[in-house]
């Protein structure tokens, strides 16, 4: 395409190109092909985070947080946990999703009888499991497992702030108090299905511990990959 032709893209043509009209794209040579490439159908690697998003949806459904939005607190808590530990969080959510699919709804009694099985908010306990009648007790526990993994991955100074953020209030509810979350999560993670080779239940100097003396200050390294494979297209922090 010569520069001459570039000047012929008038507003109508531009509007048609932006709207995705195939004829407009065919008629504008390289530019049209370029836009077609940019808007090609979604590829599998671009949907790698689907399981994590669904897990988040389930967790949010079961433990809605109607508090007023204090943006800075949420951003701080979530940003700290997610930005730095995004790989670990997504991995455990993905692991939770896979384990959920594999589970036939039968859980060890220790999980089925969790005191946190009936959340303190009354409306949550009265609501039937959304749209999946075949999996009654597996879902709440699996969501809690995912949250526990995330909590344990954030070992260090984040705990206090994290527990006050909406995604984790359900965890402190289930545990019966913020001071009980540690013990609750340790036990839950150790006994949850689909966690065969996963992270150790006690983590005195785990890879994710920010105070670890090994110098790995902000990156869980080997443990997450032992639990589940990274979804493709999910880069780690310091290069590939």
């Amino acid at each position: 395409m010569s520069p001459h032709r570039a000047r012929r893209i008038d507003r109508d043509t531009a509007e048609a190109l932006l709207a995705g009209v195939p004829e407009a794209r065919r008629g504008t040579g390289r530019l049209g092909a370029h836009l077609a490439a940019a808007t090609a159908p979604g590829q599998p690697h671009e949907l790698a985070g689907r399981a994590a998003a669904l897990a988040a949806f389930r967790a949010a459904r079961l433990h809605p947080a109607p508090e007023p939005r204090r943006t800075s607190v949420i951003k701080t808590a979530i940003a700290k946990l997610l930005t730095v530990k995004a790989a670990a969080l997504l991995t455990v959510f993905a692991a939770g999703g896979v384990a959920l699919a594999a589970t036939t709804g039968t859980l060890p009694d220790s999980l089925a009888g969790l005191p946190g099985g009936a959340p303190k908010s009354a409306h949550a306990s009265a609501r039937p499991t959304p749209s999946h009648p075949g999996r009654p007790s597996a879902m709440p526990s699996q969501a809690l497992v995912g949250l526990c993994h995330a909590y344990l991955a954030g070992a260090g100074s984040d705990h206090g702030k994290a527990l006050s953020s909406p995604p984790f209030t359900s965890l402190s509810d289930a545990a019966g108090g913020r001071d009980k979350v540690d013990a609750f999560c340790t036990k839950l993670v150790a006994t949850s299905p689909g966690n065969a080779s996963g992270r150790p239940s006690a983590h005195p100097s785990g890879a994710g511990d920010e105070r670890s003396t090994t110098g790995e200050s902000h990156e869980p390294t080997s443990t997450p990959s032992a639990t589940a494979t990274h979804p493709s297209g999910q880069p780690t922090r310091d290069g590939h």
Partner: protein
């Protein structure tokens, strides 16, 4: 080059309202459908803003989307616009935190492949072409890049794109048209100009010849 298949393209503007209503009511399958429909365009938009951190920022965004879906009332240009708005805020936060991270270059060979206009075959090559196309759009001035991406790749109409960007629709239209014209100019040359003005990567280097995405200023 026929790229639209049964699966919606990234710029598809089909009405998602039925699935949004179902997801708000708790239908997990509906939420999964929304994710599949919106994520490719959203991810590519983020790619242009934050480069390789696009997946991280996208996952943060979907966590917030999942959490806030209950309060979504259909405002602001539809679900796509709302979702990409959440993602944009996350990206802004991310860029503020990462402001000292150097930008990375796009392999010129990839840009030439796109400029070549060759018909692509095979998923791997398609993925490369898509990434390269997004990367080239990302070289535009920021307002033009965002306007083009929100319109064409995310699939917002002019009003919705304007709301996401917090600008007047006329300004967004102008930015998008200028972006397209500049893209056409860049694709027209016999060789793609080397982006010498970009800051070069210092800390984030991969193996030689590896593809790197661009992080615009």
């Amino acid at each position: 080059m026929r790229l639209r298949t049964d699966a919606p393209g990234a710029g598809d503007q089909a009405d998602l309202s039925p699935w949004v209503h179902a997801a708000v009511a708790g239908d997990e399958d509906a939420f999964g459908f929304l994710y599949s429909a919106v994520q490719p365009g959203l991810l590519r938009y983020l790619r242009a803003l934050v480069g390789q951190d696009a997946e991280d920022v996208a996952s943060e965004a979907w966590l917030q989307i999942a959490r806030d879906l209950r309060t979504y009332r259909g405002e602001g240009g539809g679900f796509r616009a709302w979702a990409v708005s959440v993602a944009r805020h996350r990206a802004m936060d991310h860029m503020r935190r990462q402001s000292r991270r150097p930008a990375q270059l796009v392999e010129v060979a990839l840009l030439e492949q796109v400029a070549d206009g060759q018909d692509t075959a095979g998923r791997a090559v398609e993925a490369l072409a898509t990434d390269a196309a997004i990367a080239l759009i990302a070289t535009l001035p920021r307002d033009q890049a965002e306007a083009v991406l929100l319109r064409a790749v995310v699939g917002l109409d002019a009003e919705a794109a304007a709301q996401v960007l917090g600008k007047r629709p006329g300004a967004v239209r102008t930015a998008a048209y200028r972006g397209l014209r500049r893209l056409a100019e860049r694709l027209a040359g016999p060789t793609v100009p080397r982006p010498v003005a970009w800051r070069r990567a210092t800390t984030r280097t991969g193996p030689p010849g590896s593809r790197r995405s661009v992080v615009p200023r």
